[in-house]
């Protein structure tokens, strides 16, 4: 999964993928060979989610603020 692909992910999908990786780990479904990549991916997904949250908050703040003087 490229960075670009991740960037295009929805928050829910990204969170789901993160959870899947976590689950796979629990189920020992990830090979040590793939482990680094998967952790890398998981990390990127979490970051992506964080970013999304931040962006959403900002947007909402903007919405509320433009509404505020009303």
């Amino acid at each position: 999964m490229t960075k670009q692909e991740i960037k295009n992910l929805k928050y829910d999908v990204a969170l789901e993928l993160l959870k899947e990786i976590s689950q796979k780990l629990e189920n020992k479904e990830i090979s040590i060979d793939d482990l680094t990549d998967q952790v890398q991916l998981a990390n990127q997904l979490a970051d992506h989610c964080k970013g999304k949250l931040k962006a959403t908050e900002d947007e909402i703040k903007k919405i509320i603020q433009t509404d505020a003087p009303d």
């Binding site: 993160l18 976590s22 780990l25 482990l35 952790v39 998981a42 979490a46 908050e57 909402i60 509320i64």
Partner: protein
């Protein structure tokens, strides 16, 4: 029954009684009181049935009689007291009489009446008179007539009497033929003063006469016995006289006592003639009194009339004054009602306006309140919403993310740990089977034909056994096996 007892004939017996009665009573005069039960006149003789009774039960009865020969003397005695035999011998009357007892062989006993005591009868009449007078007094009827105005000139006269009787004739004749004044107008109300219904007739005549335009009423009767005149003591007649608002003049011929009617009427004269005299004499006296001067008359007449008309004017005056007052009072009352009505109208309208305004104001306030409520509801809803959004973004979502990352880390370290452990374990296991290591520690390995001994099933006796050690490889033959 013995035959030797002395026996008489009835005639003998009656003769004996007759003789005894004559001897004992014929010369004796006996006074008795009794009641007349029956009365018959025949050939100038009077035959009576005399009775005595106590509490409604007859206690004695006898025949009584007045002989024609005796009648005259009895009548004479009664006449002195204004009574007649015919008045006295009425059924039901209580009388006191003196009798002689006689006995007749055929007719039996009878009482021959010699004298009749008039005082008993008169006492009866007197008693009734007293009772009626008392009643009239109690009812305030005695003086009504005397208070009526009896003018000097009474031309129109209602005459109550029995036409063709002497008293009646006397009255009318006297009015017509006198030297003083004769221009009377007489309205006659004939009554039968001796008939049974005389009382009602006279009372009705009085009532009828009072309805006519007459100045006075004259009631006349040309005398009679005390019993005859007794009807003029009757309450019904006296009451009719008292109630009459026209002055009544009586002219009842009687020598002794007056009747009650005389007491209640306006004026009573001894005879019909005297009554007639009263009428023309009053006019005469009036004329005489005023005859000296015409002017004087005029003044007096005017004075008299003025007195009468004064009263009339007084009441007429009051009348008109009151009418004005009533009209005025009614106008004011009406005005009051109308004003009140207008006031009520105004109050009604203005209170209606107020109510309407209140209603509308209330409605408008409710509408504004409604809007305000909605506004605050929306503010609250959106506030809660934003709060929740903020909570989601700043707390719930980041926490969830962090939790997932932690979970990942934990799981990762677990995976890495178990992998490492597995590798370590494998290495240890390898160490255990590494022959080099085993020989170093002094262990040896024996095989038969290159096979593990434990896997061999065939007989091992006399088989060649190869044994490996650190330094040597030994070949030997199996001699015995111990289990």
């Amino acid at each position: 029954m013995k035959n030797d007892t002395k026996t008489y004939t009835l005639t003998q017996l009656h003769t004996s009684i007759e003789n005894w009665v004559r001897e004992s009573f014929s010369t004796k005069e006996i006074w008795i009181t009794c009641q007349i039960a029956k009365s018959n006149e025949k050939n100038g003789h009077y035959y009576l049935e005399l009775v005595d009774s106590k509490e409604g039960t007859r206690t004695a009865q006898a025949k009584g009689m007045i002989w024609r020969t005796n009648y005259g003397s009895i009548q004479k005695t009664l006449q002195d007291y204004g009574l007649n035999v015919s008045d006295v011998l009425k059924v039901g009357l209580e009388i006191r009489i003196s009798v002689t007892v006689s006995f007749h062989k055929v007719f039996g006993m009878s009482l021959v009446i010699n004298t009749v005591d008039p005082s008993t009868i008169l006492g009866d009449i007197e008693k009734q008179k007293v009772a009626t007078r008392k009643k009239l007094q109690t009812e305030g009827l005695m003086d009504l007539q005397s208070n009526l105005y009896f003018g000097p000139i009474n031309k129109r006269i209602a005459l109550i009497g029995s036409p063709n009787t002497s008293g009646f004739e006397d009255f009318t004749t006297e009015l017509r033929k006198n030297a003083v004044y004769t221009n009377f107008i007489v309205k006659i109300f004939p009554v039968g003063v001796q008939s049974q219904g005389a009382v009602m007739e006279i009372a009705n005549a009085i009532n009828e006469a009072s309805g006519y335009d007459v100045d006075a009423i004259a009631i006349v009767r040309g005398g009679g016995s005390k019993m005859d005149l007794h009807i003029f003591n009757h309450y019904t007649i006296c009451e009719a006289v008292s109630s009459c608002n026209i002055p009544i003049i009586t002219g009842i011929g009687h020598e002794t006592d007056s009747c009650l009617i005389d007491e209640v009427s306006h004026a009573s004269m001894k005879t019909p003639t005297a009554a007639a005299e009263l009428f023309y004499m009053r006019i005469g006296m009036f004329l005489a009194a005023i005859s000296d001067s015409n002017k004087q008359i005029q003044i007096q007449v005017r004075g008299l009339l003025a007195q009468t008309s004064g009263e009339l004017q007084f009441y007429s005056g009051i009348l008109y004054a009151r009418v004005d007052e009533i009209l005025q009072a009614n106008k004011e009352a009406l005005q009051q009602v109308v004003q009140n009505l207008q006031y009520e109208f105004n109050v009604f309208i203005s209170s209606s306006k107020e109510r309407l305004n209140d209603q509308l104001y209330y409605l408008q306030q409710s509408a504004i309140d409604h809007i305000r409520n909605e506004q605050s509801f929306i503010d609250t809803t959106i506030g809660v919403f934003f709060n929740n959004v903020h909570g989601l973004l700043s707390e719930q979502a980041p926490e969830e993310l962090a939790r997932q990352k932690d979970l990942l880390r934990i799981r990762l370290s677990f995976v890495l740990g178990t992998t490492r452990d597995f590798l370590n374990f494998t290495r240890q296991k390898l160490g255990l089977v590494d022959p080099t290591r085993l020989f170093e520690r002094g262990y040896t390995i024996s095989t038969v034909k290159g096979e593990d001994l434990n896997k061999l099933n065939e007989k091992l006796i006399d088989q060649e056994l190869t044994t490996y050690s650190e330094k040597y490889t030994l070949i030997s033959t199996i001699k015995a096996i111990k289990k």
